[in-house]
Symmetry: C2
Subunit: 224 residues, 2 copies
């Protein structure tokens, strides 16, 4: 069984590396990463990752993993990547964070129950998805994880579906995933109001530009 | 303020990439990664990461971050790396998983309260450390995280100490770190007995070889 992760410039690296920790350990499965050109990619904070190949080199995947991050804004209008996503999303898909927006831009979210990063959650409706404000959302063979670190929870959920609970639990034990965040501040509902306001302000411009990009894409679809 | 992460072949990538997600976002701090030679490194499951430079190129660090993984077994006897750790560990240190064994091999754990991955926890005593079975252990300016994913909790703890609670909470909110593991199986105490037995068996040979390496190193120190 072939698992493939899309990697790209300005992704958020842990959207990829969190699930990689789980997916690369699934018995009977082989994991590879693919960038649009096969070149190394640089995440939004500067981490350089060398993929296993270009998307054009990927075999037919049994599991497609799509991370998110700032870089999705450009890729939402990259026809080569969107065509590849359409081709590779036939069986199992793990969407992490704003990777869901890429799947939406590829026209793959219509009628699906889906989630994404809290700051982009209302954008999913633009693609005809039913927005679900849960950390992990399972819709048929697709698993959607919310923002960034939720990809770890999503990948473990997927691991259990693909290989059974004991395999997922063994990986969880190996990676000592019994989280103890020092604060209860990981969601808009739990973060201190001042912290939420500052984080929203930091992300406002990106979110507004993203909304405009999505509306341009969707109006293009409506009037080809 | 300069933050530097050691990266190396056969590390466990999320020991590095989990904290990177936090440390690369600290205001007033610059993050770089350094491999022993400056060449790209391949993690134990095959992820290739390109560092920013070689350890010999690193400036004096204000924060040293040491991940772990299988690769520590070789590095525990690499004098160049051990010398570098001794030189760079003067101020703040974040040890993740079996990165603690590297710090121990460098002679830096004597008298410290420390933790590491559950499967290697009893090995810390060989280095003269006081073993603490907590997920995150703070000892003066040093923060020790237990296994693998605990590096995220350790990095957020360190972020709060370096930049204040609100900065750490803002990063936690951005990365939507409100974990919901699908199972309660992340520690030896909570994992199903069958899963624990299988995982222990998988790790037994590595752990035994590691114990022999440490005893060889420590007997060399005792009788130089």
């Amino acid at each position: 069984m072939e698992i493939g992760s899309l990697v790209f410039d300005n992704m958020d690296q842990i959207d990829f590396t969190g699930p990689f920790e789980v997916l690369s350990r699934l018995p009977g499965h082989t994991h590879h990463s693919y960038s649009p050109t096969g070149d190394a990619v640089r995440d939004v904070r500067g981490l350089t990752i060398v993929p296993d190949g270009a998307i054009a080199d990927a075999p037919a995947l049994n599991v497609l993993h799509v991370p998110g991050g700032r870089g999705v804004d450009v890729l939402m209008e990259n026809e080569e990547v969107l065509t590849w996503l359409r081709k590779q999303s036939g069986s199992v898909v793990l969407s992490v964070c704003t990777g869901a927006l890429l799947l939406g831009a590829a026209g793959l979210l219509t009628g699906r129950r889906a989630t994404t990063h809290w700051a982009s959650l209302d954008l999913l409706a633009e693609f005809g998805a039913t927005t679900v404000d849960d950390r992990v959302v399972v819709d048929g063979d697709w698993v959607f994880a919310a923002g960034v670190t939720s990809g770890i929870d999503g990948a473990l959920t997927l691991a259990a579906r693909l290989c059974g609970d004991e395999v997922a639990q063994g990986i969880q034990l190996y990676m000592q995933y019994a989280p103890e965040p020092p604060f209860d501040a990981g969601t808009p509902e739990t973060a201190p109001p001042k912290v939420l306001a500052a984080t929203r302000a930091d992300m406002a411009e990106v979110t507004q530009r993203r909304r405009e990009t999505i509306r341009r894409i969707m109006s293009g679809h409506a009037h080809p």
